[in-house]
Symmetry: C2
Subunit: 307 residues, 2 copies
């Protein structure tokens, strides 16, 4: 287990409208990168799909969707972000839509302090549907625009601890955190775009912020990991998305929390050794887990009622 501390930042982003270009988005990110650095941060977490609007809310033709994907990373538009991060010596996590040949993924990367990509993750838990649901104005069509990630749940040893990346809906699935912690991850980075107005069931939508917080805190605690979560939020193309970006300690305690639904930097001091107490006691997996009893988790996809 790593035993050093550092200042970590989350750079929450307000909305990105369809008419915003990459240059304006990167300029906002560079401004927050500089603020984070000035506040002592060595790493910055940006949101999911942080370069464009959340386009899976719409039905787009194959031609129309192309503008939202990156063919390589970095590229001409994003190079200034990588350059500034390297100049400042700050690593970062960022999410974007990726086109790889004729395949499409919802992707995030982690860079080191020299701006070099040291981990790539492709979102495994794609929410929503491939086809629109009749009667709705806005949709959640991630299954239409991406295929499930094919890189597993990788971790990397870095100056920021043994780190993993995941994306948005992944954070609701306890399997995500467990896959990372079983590989020794000490910290997980996650970006999200989470509307609180899209199910047409107000009792459900009303809990969106609570469910975000609950999932992040439980994942941190049950795996003795730090979790840093960055929202893209606010009113984007008519859809209202939650903020509540936060940094959660291995105890499950929230140690930093965004207060707005706009561009906002939050920071906290991350003590990577903090998880050790949990991993030696209540969550010493080697002593307490009983994987022989967990068979259905990997052999069964959906619920099956046999009683």
């Amino acid at each position: 287990m790593s035993d050093h501390s550092y200042i970590l930042a989350v750079a929450q982003m307000g909305p990105i409208q369809r008419s915003d270009n990459r240059a304006s988005v990167i300029a906002r990110q560079i401004e927050m990168l500089r603020e984070a650095h000035a506040r002592g941060a060595r790493f910055v977490v940006f949101p999911e799909l942080a370069l464009t609007t959340f386009f899976p809310r719409w039905i787009l033709s194959d031609a129309e969707k192309q503008e939202f994907y990156e063919h390589q990373m970095p590229n001409a538009a994003t190079q200034p972000l990588f350059d500034e991060a390297a100049r400042l010596g700050v690593g970062f996590y960022i999410g974007f839509a990726e086109k790889d040949g004729d395949r499409y993924f919802n992707t995030a990367i982690i860079t080191d302090q020299a701006g070099k990509i040291i981990l790539k993750y492709r979102k495994i838990h794609l929410p929503g549907t491939a086809e629109p649901i009749a009667g709705r104005d806005t949709h959640h069509l991630e299954k239409r625009y991406f295929e499930p990630g094919n890189l597993g749940f990788p971790v990397v040893r870095s100056a920021y601890g043994i780190a993993g990346a995941f994306i948005c809906n992944d954070r609701r699935w306890p399997e995500t955190y467990r896959m990372l912690s079983l590989q020794g991850a000490e910290i997980g980075f996650v970006g999200y775009n989470t509307p609180n107005d899209h199910t047409a069931n107000f009792d459900f939508d009303n809990l969106t912020s609570f469910h975000n917080r609950l999932s992040l805190q439980a994942g941190a605690y049950q795996n003795a990991m730090w979790i840093a979560a960055a929202a893209k939020c606010g009113l984007e193309e008519g859809s209202s998305m939650i903020g509540d970006s936060m940094i959660v300690a291995p105890s499950g305690q929230i140690v930093a929390q965004a207060l707005t639904t706009g561009d906002e930097v939050i920071t906290a001091k991350v003590d990577l050794g903090m998880g050790r107490l949990y991993r030696k006691t209540i969550f010493d997996f080697a002593r307490h887990r009983e994987p022989a009893e967990y068979g259905l988790i990997t052999t069964r996809k959906g619920m099956v009622v046999e009683v």
Copy 2:
């Protein structure tokens, strides 16, 4: 998915001292059973090891420990509880130390409204150690007094929904809830004895109630299940144990919560259909889980760092 509602009760228990006999304990339980029934409840959840003091805090000889185990259920001491429950038409969950031949388990049962046992579960996640930790006055020696459960995570179709049982430390492990929900469980019952003074680390002990709540709420939400949790609590043989018995909806919302650390009945109306919204959308396992990506959860017991 079941589609009916009923009133559910949790019967939290204050301490049971070593000098208390089974008859006095059963009398307290019968009193709470009657109160629950009078408040409309059709099912009552009692705590873990609800017939005796939490004896794994001590080092006991083989002869000394015998008094704490039940050789059959029901037995002469507990028959009055079963009889009264049957008379009232109220099912219940209760935990006890079980001796089966020369084997010892931390066990819970569920009965139907006729007092018949319809599910037996033996605790799988045993916390603590088999040997005492030097320098401590009190211990947590469940691994000394019990072997891990050998009945898997069973579920049963009942008048109370498709139900599962688990015990205390099981609630901190997301695998527990997932094993139940993959079999269609709509509700889970859990009893616990959770000291908040035993690690000698105040920063840790200070979070005991929060961790209880966080685990129960996350387990309910992430599996779209009702969860009803009953504490044995208060100052028992010099050890302080948390109360905070609660009933949690499939949304993760706490709908009933104990306010004391003594004998206390709480109730809530359980709508078994409530989980359906979650199971058709965000937690439609058949559409969204990706078990092929979860291999380590069942093939790896402890953490292994390979980076």
